[in-house]
């Protein structure tokens, strides 16, 4: 460990001499406070906080990831290019220890910078209401919807298979299939009917209602409120861009008189296309964690209301503190840093610095749009099944999927990142992917010639 530590300390010194490291640190040090007090968001305290934390965390994460890539590549390629490695590798140190030392140095330095700037972002976020002299109402809203970590429960997807089959048979019997779907195959017709049924389930025509049922809603003891978060769209946009809806929230399994919990009836107007939250007391939730939410499309709307399939409806309730959630989000960035440090070191074992940086940046940005890439290659793969199935798909799956777990996507909507989720990401990214990459790096570096032949 002594040798690894000696190399790690030297690596940190080496990176600190990099002008780019200083530049990144200065940029963050200047920009974060400026962003903290310069960003207005939607004008509310919550909006300001969300804008600042979103951009602050994203910028910190981006710059730290880039710094990690550059530093991890520079530290080894520079040693090889400037031949300092001759005097190091001829000492009693294994090549694996040298790589480990470099890795520890890069990760340690990036982690220290991450801790520093996370503290800065956290401090600005926490003290912002005081600096801005925000109203009590705004502070309460920020506490409910930002300074917290809320668990999310989404409604169960209703199974529409039987309904689709019935509809198909009905159409077939009536002879409407060919008329409606023309030359489509049965599979294509079923898929279309399925999409149609699903849309029906999340749509409310004029005067009708939609009912969602939630299970396992377990607010932490002492939680006073829960939040119904929704977002809807319409078939015909009203003049004021708003929908007047009726809401009934509570346990609907028994008549109201027979249940112990409260049932809440609300009527409110909300704009279309943006997310809204309804705050109700937590006593609406049944002891077994059941909660039903019904939406009535009031006749005066005169349009069909459709809830978004992804974030149209969910229940949020406080599950942890803002501080704890912030720490976990910082650790999520740390997971990225470790993965990228290993990737950088692997690239630098056999590539020159510019090429290695290019490769790693491609990996990083690919990881940032991984869902798009997976979908794109999924369509492409249909034409080259063998190549896609056995080569491209495993390779894509092995690439990082940073966009699946964006740090800001947890902090901005005050959504909890559980330890379990974090451990899952860490085990895949660090314990599996990084270890595989590190093993390859050790294999390559262990077998390569350090010196060049000069004749």
């Amino acid at each position: 460990m002594g040798r690894i530590w000696a190399v790690a300390v030297n690596t940190i010194r080496q990176i600190l001499r990099l002008k780019i490291a200083t530049a990144f640190i200065v940029i963050l040090f200047v920009l974060l406070p400026v962003m903290g007090f310069g960003m207005t968001g939607d004008g509310t305290l919550k909006g300001r906080l969300q804008s600042f934390v979103s951009y602050g965390l994203s910028l910190t994460s981006l710059l730290l990831c880039l710094l990690t890539i550059i530093a991890s590549i520079y530290t080894l390629t520079s040693d090889i290019k400037n031949k300092q490695i001759y005097t190091v590798i001829t000492k009693p140190i294994k090549r694996s220890q040298l790589i480990a030392g470099k890795l520890v140095g890069v990760v340690l330095l990036s982690s220290v910078i991450l801790v520093f700037f996370s503290c800065l972002i956290y401090s600005i976020a926490v003290y912002m209401p005081k600096f801005l002299n925000s109203s009590e109402q705004e502070i309460v809203k920020a506490k409910d919807e930002f300074y917290t970590a809320r668990a999310s429960v989404k409604p169960r997807q209703q199974d529409v298979t039987k309904e689709v089959e019935r509809e198909y048979e009905k159409l077939a019997k009536s002879g409407m299939l060919e008329e409606v779907f023309k030359n489509d195959s049965k599979q294509q017709i079923i898929a279309q009917l399925r999409r149609q049924k699903k849309l029906e389930k999340r749509s409310a025509s004029v005067g009708s209602q939609i009912l969602w049922e939630f299970y396992n809603v377990k607010p932490t003891v002492g939680s006073e409120d829960i939040f119904i978060k929704f977002k809807y769209d319409v078939s015909v946009t009203p003049a004021d861009n708003q929908i007047f809806g009726g809401w009934m929230i509570g346990d609907n399994r028994k008549p109201v008189k027979e249940i112990d919990t409260e049932v809440y009836n609300l009527r409110q107007k909300n704009s279309i296309g943006t997310a809204h939250e309804i705050k109700i007391p937590a006593d609406a939730v049944a002891e077994d964690g059941y909660l039903a939410v019904a939406f009535f499309n009031l006749p005066l709307n005169n349009t069909v209301v459709m809830f978004s399939p992804k974030d149209g409806m969910e229940i949020l309730y406080k599950a942890d503190s803002f501080f704890a959630n912030f720490i976990r989000v910082a650790l999520l960035i740390e997971v990225r840093i470790i993965f990228l440090a290993v990737t950088g070191l692997l690239a630098s074992t056999f590539l020159s610095m510019p090429v290695a940086i290019l490769v790693c940046i491609v990996v990083f940005f690919t990881g940032s749009i991984s869902q798009f890439i997976i979908e794109s290659f999924g369509y492409l793969g249909e034409s080259v099944i063998g190549f896609y199935q056995y080569i491209l798909k495993p390779l894509i799956q092995f690439m990082p999927q940073f966009d699946k777990m964006e740090p800001a996507s947890f902090i901005v909507p005050a959504k909890i990142l559980s330890w379990f989720e974090l451990a899952k990401v860490a085990s895949v990214m660090v314990c599996i992917k990084s270890l595989v990459l590190l093993s390859i790096a050790l294999l390559v570096f262990g077998s390569r010639e350090i010196a060049r032949i000069i004749v």
């Binding site: 002594g2 040798r3 530590w5 000696a6 190399v7 030297n10 010194r13 080496q14 001499r17 400037n82 031949k83 300092q84 490695i85 001759y86 005097t87 190091v88 590798i89 001829t90 000492k91 009693p92 140190i93 294994k94 010639e449 350090i450 010196a451 032949i453 000069i454 004749v455």
Partner: protein
């Protein structure tokens, strides 16, 4: 362990991008470097010296053959604990200062803190960089960087020291110090491989040499054996003698049928330079460079100070098991002051007044190539009029000339 380094058919072929054989950088190299030997690896640029060394150190992999270093493979960290390596340039971390540099390398040897600090200070003193120990290595001159490079190679008190062009960029004093250091280390039982194309350096310190060309050994053997002119003799007097005496000597030699050149020996520029700088130092003139320019010579050649520092370096072992059997320390050659024989000189010069006696230093370590063979007995008998038996009067090894004595 008889050999510190042994290479068996060591070959390195340089291939191009397509894998086609391009150059045989080293071709079937068979070297056997004995323990406690100063071995010189000579050759012009591109002859394969450095490539051979890099293969010995595991920095390059041989295409064919293999090398055994200290009884094992040099890529084994345990073997590396006993090797010191100074590459052809001091490849050091520019941002570390001299002390931090040595500390970093010492930590790679896991030296305990106290020993590490002691050795660092001793080495800084030895290479004359104590005064600039806190200056980043990137601000060092080439010679100063070379000195700190040498210090890092010695931090572990190595049994095998591999020096690739150690005197490149050094001033004459530094060059001399390194040569003296090599001699001192050899006396303390170290094996040293000296790779250089500076022939004078190698000639001064090496026991054996090997000359490479095209990756192959062209000549190998003891320096004296390779350089000795068996058909020539040299007589050096300790004082000026008259022209008449010279004419007589010439006549005697020519009567033997031999040619005779009589010249006054010149001082070596190296010696003159060292004397000049030493004078300047005595006057405490300011310099921003390496300061203790004669320290290596002082504390490695004689005196308690040198003994103390070297003992510190050598005796404070880390406690890890040594590789191979213990190497015996070679005893230093005694420096003997010989009074020249007045009668002999009188006989040679045939002057009325006896020549003022001058001390002649008898040594054969610093300048092994200038070891003259014994003067032809018959001629000497004739010169001294058979007054004294020559065997007992003429020092058998060498009477070095003034320039040697000065050095």
């Amino acid at each position: 362990m008889k050999y510190a380094v042994e290479t068996i058919s060591l070959t390195k072929v340089f291939s191009d991008w397509w894998g086609r054989r391009k150059v045989n950088a080293v071709d079937n190299l068979n070297l056997k470097i004995r323990t406690n030997e100063v071995f010189g690896l000579l050759g012009p640029n591109g002859s394969g010296k450095t490539t051979a060394i890099k293969m010995m150190l595991g920095l390059l992999y041989p295409t064919k053959g293999h090398s055994i270093v200290l009884g094992g493979d040099s890529t084994d960290p345990k073997i590396n604990e006993h090797i010191g390596f100074l590459p052809e340039e001091s490849y050091l971390y520019q941002y570390l200062n001299a002390r931090e540099t040595l500390d970093f390398y010492a930590k790679l040897f896991k030296l305990p803190s106290k020993i590490r600090k002691d050795r660092i200070e001793a080495l800084l003193d030895m290479v004359g960089l104590k005064a600039v120990a806190n200056r980043p290595v990137g601000m060092f001159s080439k010679g100063m960087a070379r000195r700190i490079g040498l210090a890092q190679a010695l931090i572990n008190d190595p049994d095998l020291l591999i020096l690739d062009e150690p005197t490149t960029g050094l001033d004459p004093i530094g060059t001399r110090q390194i040569k003296d250091l090599i001699i001192q280390l050899a006396k303390r039982g170290k094996t040293i491989i000296l790779c250089s194309h500076l022939l004078a350096d190698v000639e001064d310190v090496c026991d054996r040499i090997s000359i490479l060309y095209g990756g192959k050994i062209q000549a190998m053997g003891k320096v004296e054996e390779l350089l000795k002119h068996t058909d020539k003799k040299q007589i050096t007097t300790s004082n000026s003698i008259s022209d008449e005496a010279l004419a007589k000597i010439r006549n005697i030699i020519e009567a033997e049928g031999a040619d005779c050149d009589i010249v006054s020996p010149m001082d070596k520029l190296e010696s003159f330079f060292i004397r000049t700088v030493a004078d300047a130092q005595k006057q405490s003139k300011f310099t921003s460079g390496a300061v203790s320019t004669t320290n290596i010579g002082n504390f490695l050649t004689s005196g308690d100070t040198s003994k103390g520092i070297l003992d510190k370096l050598v005796s404070e072992s880390v406690g890890e098991e040594t590789i191979g059997k213990k190497i015996e320390t070679r005893k230093a050659e005694p420096i003997e002051i010989v009074e020249p024989d007045k009668d002999l000189l009188s006989a040679l010069t045939q002057t009325s007044e006896p020549v003022k006696p001058t001390a002649v230093i008898k040594t054969d370590t610093v300048e092994p190539t200038e070891v003259p063979g014994a003067v032809d007995d018959d001629i000497l008998d004739e010169l001294v009029g058979k007054k004294r038996p020559v065997e007992t009067e003429i020092p058998k090894k060498t009477d070095v000339s003034e320039d040697q004595a000065d050095g």
